[in-house]
Symmetry: C2
Subunit: 280 residues, 2 copies
């Protein structure tokens, strides 16, 4: 598992690296960024999952997360959103294929051989990072935005052995019940909707996946977000949590949209949330 | 002077606008971003001048300045780095022409008709913004990065009636004595080097332009910056300030490079510096 350093920068007293490695899971080169705060570690780690069209670069350059992360001594790992390259299936639309991996393992052609983002993120990527950097593997949280918010919620619910804390910005709360999710799940998982519920945060919570595992889930949602009503549907997450007694801190913010300016405004709260859950 | 809103976002409780207007000075459409903190104003204003290759977008998305600006009640204006468009002269190199206006008024063909960034920024742009938004015109500071650090220093020294505070990140401290500056000044100002000194921060200070006008100048410089020795030369600014008794707070930072990650690490200090100088 050799890692190539693509770029390295000092930021907020710590070290930010853009890294690339050959993934055995996706069968492609994969890129990610990793911020380590100053010091020896081992550091608690926040895994950040980005949204549609993003690469590992968007969060890294735009979110303003590393100041708060440095203050809390938290490392941050930000993978790309899908496998990429000439031999990898793609679709002309922005919401399918490269840049739109949806953090699940595709079972359908032509996606299946490469689009294995759930196993990549929760397995190979974390193993690689933990093996090569001073990360406390028992202190890992996950957050993300939009498609990556869906990824954060579903991966946390499906892998509570790995993730001890979870939050999201403007997540796709129930992909089985919105156009982005229905399109992607049909392509990646096939027409049998029975297989879909296992990758739907609201349905996973309704089915008891969260039971006793997370004492709180933090979600921020802008009320000026163009995707709120049709794609994101936080009310479905809210109802699911209420139905099973899962605590959810869902904050609705007047005027904020779906952009990184929204995330930059509240990322410090999410970093503090994870740092608190991961300490001790 | 009608302003077109290209984008508008809520960020850190304030409002960020990307705006476009037809400039009578450059004879082209010009773009800029403007952040206004929450409240009624009038707000003190920091003018941010970006470096080579940048547009109004780089600082706006990457610097992480709006959190600190919101906390201090400071507005921030970030113009593009040059006129642009099909009828505008350009050069294939990244350090001349579009994206490389050097914040001066060109006197030479083919640049002169459009490349009038000094008059644009200190005149038309500020007039437009002050007329249309709640800005305290007597409380304006200026900062910038690299070519924009040169711009901040030279515009502050040449227009102390406009700018009450000045700082810079990794500025080109003496463009008459480095390859970037020599190339740009030859193109924009011609071969007569006598005209160049008026746009060289170190030489302006040596000539007495700063005398009694700024009680301190804040400059941050990364020591891992690839351009430090050949292009930036903070030691020339340091020597000029020492020669005339101008206070300069020049901070050299181990390991930091020329990127926005460097600026993001220290932007809060610059925002606080300007807020302090502009209050009262």
């Amino acid at each position: 598992m050799s890692l190539e350093i693509v770029q390295q920068h000092r930021v907020h007293g710590g070290t930010l690296r853009y890294l690339r490695h050959q993934s055995a899971v996706t069968g492609t080169p994969m890129r990610f960024s990793l911020f380590l705060p100053e010091g020896e570690g081992p550091f608690p780690l926040l895994v950040w999952l980005s949204g549609l069209t993003c690469t590992e670069d968007n969060f890294t350059t735009k979110a303003g997360a590393y100041g708060p992360a440095a203050a809390h001594g938290l490392a941050i790992l930000a993978p790309d959103t899908s496998p990429r390259g000439e031999g990898v299936a793609d679709d002309p639309a922005y919401d399918l294929g490269q840049g739109a991996g949806f953090y699940l393992d595709a079972t359908q052609a032509p996606w299946a051989p490469h689009f294995q983002m759930e196993t990549y993120v929760t397995g190979e990527l974390l193993e690689t990072v933990v093996a090569q950097f001073p990360i406390a593997r028992e202190k890992v949280g996950v957050s993300g935005h939009s498609m990556g918010g869906h990824g954060a919620l579903t991966l946390a619910l499906r892998h509570p052995d790995i993730f001890r804390s979870v939050s999201a910005f403007a997540p796709i709360c129930s992909p089985t019940r919105c156009p982005w999710g229905e399109k992607a799940f049909t392509a990646y998982l096939g027409d049998d909707r029975a297989a879909w519920a296992d990758h739907d945060a609201a349905r996973l919570i309704e089915a008891g996946a969260a039971q006793g595992r997370f004492d709180d889930i933090l979600v921020d949602q802008g009320l000026g977000d163009n995707f709120l009503a049709e794609q994101l549907k936080p009310e479905l997450l809210e109802a699911a949590c209420a139905a099973v007694g899962q605590k959810l801190t869902l904050r609705r913010h007047d005027g904020y949209d779906h952009s990184y300016f929204f995330m930059a405004s509240f990322i410090a709260d999410h970093v503090a949330f994870h740092a608190e859950k991961l300490k001790g």
